[in-house]
């Protein structure tokens, strides 16, 4: 069952129509990777889901309840992690999380324990150090803590890993992955590897509509563009090899990329035979599977 549904959602800023009828559903408990170019309308979509932005036309439903701009009835079920969370620098993390917990209606008796547990989870100090002295990474981790404190049904993350170092990013992705099945997550990022790593479904927003929306495996099948990459000792050898292999190949400096559709072995064998017959021996040869980046490039091109 879908926890989040968007039906023909349109949004314009002045003359520019950013969303031209957005339709998609996010099943409960899944992680939805939401990707698109800069300015495609990802943040606008997320803010509309949160009731922070007006909707020109269409409907957004969360668990069957329509989202209204500024309406806060459904907000206690949703949490938001922006790319650069802003806090009250004069507070310490415990004070800030206490305020967040109170606003989301966490019972007073449970709140202190939940806060301590959450601060330990995100590896933040449990002391009186104020937030204004925090690094960007620490602020991002506090953002994760405030977003997860209430165990939300829907978590919306807008480029959450942008400020994290590689270790922090990996830990954050593991944390999100551990929520799979319990919390529905919409996860927007430009780092497509992150989406590949944890998402069940991927939506690619382009030109105001969702151009692709499926599981990563299905998208790979749909946009399958299998390749064999031959690398040669020099550009000249690669150029000759490219001419011999034929129109299905692309030359990229010392590499020749062969696009194929069906069986790997048949294609690899025939290409290799042709090359060896012409005394062209590649120094490396590898099969490359379709990545989300390839799919993204194809969908948005």
């Amino acid at each position: 069952m879908a926890l989040l549904e968007l039906h023909d959602v349109k949004k314009s800023f002045g003359d520019k129509q950013v969303l031209k009828g957005l339709n998609f559903e996010v099943p409960e408990g899944s992680i939805f990777g939401f990707v698109g170019e800069n300015g495609a309308g990802k943040t606008t979509t997320m803010k509309m889901i949160l009731g922070l932005e007006t909707i020109d036309s269409g409907n957004i439903l969360i668990d069957g309840t329509k989202v209204h701009y500024g309406n806060s009835n459904i907000n206690r079920e949703i949490e938001y992690l922006p790319d650069v969370p802003e806090y009250y620098g004069y507070m310490n993390p415990t004070e800030y999380l206490t305020l967040c917990g109170q606003l989301t209606g966490i019972p007073k008796r449970d709140l202190p324990n939940k806060i301590v547990k959450m601060l330990k989870t995100v590896d933040l100090p449990i002391n009186k150090r104020r937030i204004h002295g925090f690094s960007r990474g620490m602020k991002q981790r506090l953002g994760i803590a405030q977003a997860l404190l209430n165990s939300p049904r829907l978590l919306i993350c807008d480029e959450p890993t942008s400020a994290l170092d590689p270790i922090g990013r990996s830990e954050f992705l593991s944390l999100l992955a551990s929520l799979k099945g319990k919390t529905t997550i919409i996860f927007s990022t430009h780092i497509l590897n992150d989406v590949e790593r944890i998402s069940d479904r991927v939506g690619i927003l382009h030109d105001g509509i969702l151009k692709a929306n499926d599981s990563l495996d299905n998208l790979k099948q749909q946009y399958a563009k299998s390749q064999i990459i031959f690398e040669f000792e020099s550009n000249a050898l690669a150029q000759r090899a490219n001419q011999i292999i034929g129109p299905k190949s692309i030359l990229k400096q010392r590499k020749v990329i062969l696009n194929y559709e069906d069986d790997y072995h048949t294609n690899a064998e025939s290409a290799l035979k042709l090359l060896l017959k012409n005394h062209l021996v590649p120094i490396s040869m590898k099969s490359q599977e379709t990545s989300l980046e390839d799919i993204f490039m194809e969908v948005t091109s």
């Binding site: 922070l52 500024g70 806060s72 907000n75 650069v84 802003e86 109170q102 606003l103 405030q146």
Partner: protein
């Protein structure tokens, strides 16, 4: 209402930790001490300043001079110091984006305005009262006369004027993301009200009477009944202005 209360606590903590309350306390304690002291010392200062061939004959200072100094300080500087402190209360949060997290957790926008208004008004009352009490004590010590029998009613007008003036500042702060807008709006409204006082038919209803007629009330030459229309207009307009501020914040992109 629970969320409004939580936000009031947050606003109070902010006032304390960002040293707003400390600044208010220091400035207004100085005002409280300065009023009666200046009234007491002015004749001596003038005497010292005058040359031996030219003497200024000054009447002995009274409690009226001390209270006059108090109201001059409060209406010409004090209330504007407060307005400067409150000026960025909404605009600062909107421009920094600190409200986004809290609004997405279910904090209503009206709670934000009401809480900010309440805490700002409490600081206004604190400032007026602290200066008043110090001024009162010093005046009683320096000038033990009976020339100012109604000190409380004079001060209560300042407290009531704050209802509207703080509301105007919050409203201005909601209009724009600039931290100066609250101050600017309050100053413009103050100037307009002062200009309106030039027309005799408005005087009776003009909220500015609450900061201009204080001395007449203290001395007992005017009764509070004559200012009642202005008091009611001040209270009603405060409610309307706060309501407008809520409407504006409801439409504002955070």
């Amino acid at each position: 209402m629970r969320n409004t209360w939580f936000f009031i606590r947050k606003e109070s903590l902010e006032s304390l930790r960002s040293y707003h309350l400390l600044i208010i306390a220091i400035v207004f304690i100085i005002f409280g001490i300065e009023g009666p002291l200046m009234a007491k010392l002015t004749p001596d200062i003038l005497k010292m300043a005058s040359s031996s061939s030219f003497t200024i004959k000054m009447p002995d200072p009274t409690s009226i001079d001390a209270w006059q100094q108090y109201y001059k300080n409060m209406t010409q500087i004090g209330i504007f110091v407060l307005v400067v402190i409150f000026s960025g209360t909404v605009s600062g949060e909107v421009s920094r984006g600190t409200l986004v997290n809290l609004v997405t957790k279910g904090l209503s926008r009206y709670s934000i305005i009401i809480a900010k208004y309440f805490v700002a008004y409490m600081q206004w009352c604190f400032a007026i009262l602290i200066t008043f009490l110090i001024n009162w004590a010093y005046t009683a010590y320096y000038f033990p006369d009976n020339k100012t029998p109604n000190v409380w009613s004079g001060m209560s007008l300042l407290i009531i004027f704050g209802l509207m003036f703080v509301a105007v500042t919050i409203f201005g702060s909601t209009l724009s993301n600039s931290n100066y807008m609250g101050f600017l709006t309050a100053v413009v409204v103050f100037i307009i009200l002062t200009l309106l006082n030039l027309f005799k038919e408005f005087k009776h209803y003009n909220p500015i009477a609450l900061v201009t007629d204080n001395m007449s009330l203290i001395k007992g030459t005017k009764q509070i009944d004559t200012i009642m229309p202005a008091i009611w207009i001040t209270i009603v307009s405060s409610i309307v202005i706060i309501y407008l501020a809520i409407l504006i914040l409801n439409k504002k992109r955070l």
